[in-house]
């Protein structure tokens, strides 16, 4: 197979050996969960329960607030014990609903709909919308929005993102090995919803067994194909994946639908399949708990809202002093002050670093070495944007492409001067948004 790729990027060690061989293990029902109201990009969900209410696993507890939003469901049965602020996996404090288990039955009644492949598109979309599904690769864009492109934007290709280019993470990899058939059915359902003729599954070359498995299953499907991708970060970034697979360039500031493509993560495709076939809301997901301090790195199928500390305990705790706890992968994930955060629908991994790996060096002045320029997958000049932000020249920052940055972190990864380029650029994005609001 000829491997495809995109221009720019870096080649970090993939560090997947910690958890790659660990089969998906079901995490036992936790004592309590915290269902965050903001698990996605868009407006936070609106709670429809009160403290003291008894809720069943799978019951809706918060409603979508508008189009770019999703509903939330109880991931365990129990009592609503608190509605308030909790540590969010992005490191901030955010509103959530805490449910404490009351020992009642936690079984989730799933109705298998035998005719699920023949349903009308409207019904398919209703089921996806009701299940509260958002992108599970990390960004958390409400899936129903992606599946409802405007009339004037016809979609011809659906790409499933099985790249998992973030080092350490193996949850998508395990899903592709263990749930391949269901993921493919999910792909077909997505294609039906957006009326696309072609389906692709993009997988990076460091997962040859996943590529092989998918290729075997797709051998007889003429309109579905596996796209083998070179091991190169950020291969799984939406625009880079689309380019590698189709050679189409998503216009700057535009969405994939502008080039007739919809991208969904493989985990999302599985959730969509389960939502349509069993009308199962998105209440659990696979998360990799990994890194050198973790005693027994694992891939856990855990209820949404499970505390990170409980996941680590289940993996045998930490065998060395933890220096950093990262929600997500090490390139784009968030460093958490503690393990008190609860996982959300976008939590693909929890990576622990020992004290040595957690340390970072002091910033040096820019040498103008241009390594950041050479690796930027968006063809930007990160050092100039960062400098513009540093000296509060917002116009220059915008002109240099602050809003085109996808925050993949490749620039900061290679910077010999250890400049926190992504942080400066992110600050620039925030300042720009503020300036726009004031206008």
């Amino acid at each position: 197979m000829r491997l495809k790729t995109f221009p720019g990027g870096i080649h970090p060690h993939d560090e997947k050996h910690y958890s790659a061989a660990a089969p998906i293990t079901i995490f036992p029902t936790p004592q309590r969960v915290i269902i965050h109201l903001s698990q996605h990009i868009g407006t936070p969900s609106t709670p429809i329960v009160e403290v003291g209410d008894v809720v069943q696993r799978g019951q809706k507890i918060a409603e979508a607030s508008g189009f770019v939003s999703i509903p939330q469901h109880a991931s365990i049965s129990g009592k609503v014990s608190k509605i308030g602020k909790f540590l969010h996996p992005t490191g901030t404090m955010a509103m959530g609903i805490e449910i404490t288990q009351d020992g009642s039955d936690n079984a989730l009644e799933l109705i298998d709909d035998p005719g699920y492949m023949e349903l009308e598109v409207a019904e398919l979309k209703r089921r996806v919308g009701d299940a509260g599904i958002c992108g599970m690769g990390g960004a958390g864009f409400p899936s129903i929005v992606k599946l409802s492109p405007p009339e004037d934007k016809p979609i011809d290709t659906v790409i499933l993102n099985g790249v998992e280019c973030e080092p350490f993470l193996t949850s998508d990899y395990r899903l592709m090995l263990e749930r391949a058939e269901d993921i493919i059915t999910g792909l077909k359902l997505i294609m039906k919803m957006v009326n696309a003729k072609k389906g692709m599954i993009g997988i990076e070359a460091n997962k040859p067994d996943a590529i092989m498995k998918m290729e075997q299953l797709l051998a007889k499907e003429s309109n579905l194909e596996v796209v083998g991708l070179r091991m190169q970060y950020p291969q799984g970034a939406e625009k880079q994946l689309i380019y590698a697979a189709t050679k189409r360039k998503v216009p700057a500031g535009g969405l994939p639908m502008a080039v007739g493509v919809v991208v969904q993560n493989v985990g999302t495709a599985l959730a969509i399949y389960e939502a349509i076939r069993y009308q199962k809301p998105l209440i659990d997901r696979v998360i990799s708990v990994t890194g050198s301090p973790v005693a027994k790195p694992m891939n856990l199928l855990a209820p949404i809202g499970t505390l990170y500390s409980e996941l680590v305990d289940f993996c045998g705790g930490a065998k060395e002093t933890v220096g950093k706890a990262i929600s997500g992968g090490p390139m784009m994930g968030f460093a958490l002050p503690s393990l008190d955060a609860a996982m959300t629908k976008g939590s693909s991994g929890l990576v622990l670093f020992g004290e040595k790996d957690a340390r970072s060096l002091a910033e040096h002045t820019c040498l103008r070495c241009a390594r950041c320029v050479d690796v930027c997958p968006m063809n930007l000049v990160p050092s100039i944007i960062a400098n513009a932000v540093k000296y509060k020249d917002l116009d220059l920052a915008v002109q240099a492409g602050v809003n085109d940055c996808i925050k993949c972190g490749s620039c900061a990864y290679v910077c010999p001067a250890q400049i926190r380029l992504v942080q400066y650029i992110d600050t620039g994005k925030i300042r720009y948004a503020e300036a726009q609001r004031k206008k």
Binding site: S360, H364, L367, V373
Partner: protein
């Protein structure tokens, strides 16, 4: 809530490269050239080189102490500048020359502007230009040829003419006393050409000398370094070895050296001929291996701070350096133009960067 862990912005992963690591790797890449220099000229080459490097380190430390900023000489950048400065001096130079040059390079070329990352032009080259302007005699006289070789690398004089010394004293003086590039440049002077040809009684002496410049034997001398030259630029081979190391380590990028050397290659073939004899297909090889081009293209024109950061900018920079180098070599007042061409292009760097800002991925050209 107890905050136990380090909180910092993403990415949390780094390729472990540091400024220090980069600078010392460049120093390592310069060692083969030094070994060749010591082989050819003895310990004096080493002493002059280390003198330059250590003076640069001391100067930087002193100025940083005076500026009350952290002393950062361990990062290797001052050592590198001092070493490069010394590489631009010939092995017969007095010891104070690298001292004055390195102190100037660091003081006026670098620290005045705020230190590493802020200097507008290459400090080592500025130091060299300062020395050449202030002590031209010491910089250009007393060059030592490699033992057993002529300065010009033209060792087999009998192939030019059996009794060259009697036939044309002028030509003899040129081929025994000047560097290869000086020979090539002098031969472009039509008065000189007719002079020596007349001395030789109508024999095309100029053409013969020119022809021997591009002979395999001469090119070999240039490649291995048994010619006269500055400490660091003597052997193209040793410099290529270091350059390969830097490219492999991803410390320098290919664009500037490739376009620099290619431009010299092409232009020397087109314009490098001499009156009466025209050019030669081997002439481009003479021009890329002679003088300081390898040192300049791989170690000076790739200096981070003073060269463009945009990809297209680096191409323009390389072509510009090549163009200026050829102009100076062929029609300039000096036989060699590498250092001045890089210095001049350094000045254009901000403008080049500004004019070559790339379009973001997916951005349509307006």
């Amino acid at each position: 809530m107890n905050d136990k862990y380090i909180v910092s912005p993403a990415p949390h992963f780094h390729d472990k490269s540091t400024v220090k690591n980069v600078m010392w790797n460049v120093v390592i890449a310069l060692i083969p050239a030094l070994i060749f220099a010591v082989y050819y000229w003895g310990l004096r080459a080493l002493i002059l080189s280390l003198t330059g490097a250590i003076t640069a380190v001391i100067t930087e430390a002193l100025i940083q102490k005076l500026r009350k900023v952290p002393v950062t000489v361990h990062d290797g950048s001052a050592f590198l500048t001092g070493l490069l400065l010394a590489y631009n001096i010939h092995a017969g130079a007095p010891i104070w020359l690298p001292i004055v040059g390195a102190a100037f390079a660091i003081g006026v070329g670098k620290q005045v502007f705020g230190g590493l990352g802020n200097n507008p032009v290459n400090p080592a080259l500025l130091g060299r230009a300062f020395l050449l302007a202030s002590w031209p005699t010491q910089m250009t006289a007393g060059w030592v040829a490699v033992k057993g070789s002529a300065m010009s690398g033209l060792n087999n004089l009998s192939r030019i003419a059996t009794n060259l010394q009697e036939l044309s004293p002028k030509a003899y003086e040129l081929v025994t006393g000047a560097t290869p590039l000086k020979v090539a440049q002098t031969l472009r002077d039509s008065t000189f050409v007719s002079d020596i040809n007349a001395q030789a009684g109508g024999l095309d002496l100029a053409g013969r000398i020119f022809g021997s410049l591009t002979e395999m034997e001469t090119l070999k001398s240039l490649f291995w370094g048994n010619i006269g030259g500055c400490i660091g630029e003597v052997s193209a081979f040793a410099l290529l070895l270091g350059a390969a190391y830097l490219l492999w380590k991803n410390i320098i990028e290919w664009r500037i050296p490739l376009f620099y050397i290619s431009t010299v290659f092409v232009l020397s073939f087109i314009f490098g001929g001499i009156p009466g004899s025209g050019t030669s297909v081997m002439l481009p090889f003479f021009h890329i291996f002679a003088g300081g081009l390898m040192l300049g293209a791989f170690f000076m024109a790739t200096d981070y701070t003073t060269t463009p950061i945009t990809k297209n900018g680096r191409i323009i920079f390389g072509i510009g350096c090549g163009l200026l180098t050829i102009v100076i070599r062929l029609v300039g007042g000096y036989p060699e133009g590498v250092s001045y061409s890089i210095l001049l292009m350094n000045v254009f760097t901000p403008l080049i960067d500004k004019l070559t800002m790339p379009k973001a991925f997916g951005k349509v050209a307006k």
